[in-house]
């Protein structure tokens, strides 16, 4: 049946767009991706095959992007302004970590990858200091 409202109804939907967070945050996600970068650089130093090198660079860049994504999620979604009291250098820490990921993405120097791991460990310490481990993870089954 014809309805006048069908003519007037909008054809496009727009969203106010908010996150629907699961509430689970852990710097370990970023660390695993950063460890992949570290190991890939290590393997690249032991193998001069150009096909292997091309593939390794491709995977390292992909893993570095994932590390940056996980750091961004922690920074934007987990940490809140009140956490600055416990971690006054929070913004500087994430700024340095994000910059270091970009460096690792373009680098084949193992020292760069190690520095990124160290910065993620500092993020992990900040996450623990603000109760992240207790507040955001689901408890494992105990033996």
């Amino acid at each position: 049946m014809f309805r006048f409202s069908d003519i007037l109804a909008p054809k496009t939907t727009v969203r106010a767009h908010c996150d629907l967070p699961c509430g689970v945050y852990d710097p370990e996600q970023a660390r695993i991706e950063a460890e992949s970068c570290y190991k890939i650089i290590e393997k690249m130093g032991q193998n001069s095959d150009p096909t292997f090198t091309a593939r390794a660079i491709d995977i390292k860049e992909e893993r570095a992007d994932l590390a940056k994504h996980h750091l961004d999620v922690l920074w934007h979604d987990y940490f809140k302004p009140e956490h600055l009291e416990k971690v006054p250098n929070l913004h500087e820490l994430f700024w340095n970590a994000a910059k270091q990921v970009s460096k690792v993405k373009a680098s084949t120097d193992l020292a760069d990858a190690k520095k990124l791991l160290d910065l993620i460990d500092e993020v992990d310490a900040a996450w623990r200091a603000t109760g992240g481990a207790e507040k955001t993870r689901v408890a494992r089954q105990t033996a």
């Binding site: 007037l8 909008p10 727009v14 969203r15 767009h17 908010c18 996150d19 629907l20 934007h76 913004h91």
Partner: protein, 118 residues
């Protein structure tokens, strides 16, 4: 975007806008990160200063700072996270502007112009 825009509102857009409307206007954009069509409010226009936690930034000649109206407390109560707006993706270039929302034509009890807000 409550209370200015409610879910299910039918809106008219002005798609002929070729520059950012004044502060407080409601606009539809394609989000820079995702291409999602989103509705936000202009919090600052080209050349204006935006205060951040530490310092400030000055918007470029074709950039705007867009925010959601939703308060954090309301979002948490609704089970949602933080709004995805310029606090997430930064200044929005003019290329992303789709149009200015200027009139609501449904539902009937809410028909009227969309007033500039804060």
């Amino acid at each position: 975007m409550r209370p200015a825009i409610e879910p299910g509102d039918w809106l008219l857009l002005d798609p002929t806008t070729h520059r950012w409307p004044r502060r407080g206007a409601v606009v539809v954009i394609r989000e820079p990160d995702s291409d999602v069509l989103a509705i936000k409010r202009v919090a600052a226009g080209p050349g204006e200063r935006v205060a951040l936690d530490e310092g400030h930034l000055v918007l470029g000649p074709d950039e705007a700072w867009l925010l959601s109206d939703a308060a954090d407390a309301e979002l948490i109560a609704a089970g949602l996270g933080r709004p995805v707006d310029s606090r997430r993706y930064g200044p929005v270039p003019l290329d992303c502007l789709v149009g200015r929302a200027w009139f609501r034509y449904a539902p009937l009890h809410r028909i009227g112009r969309i007033r500039p807000g804060r």
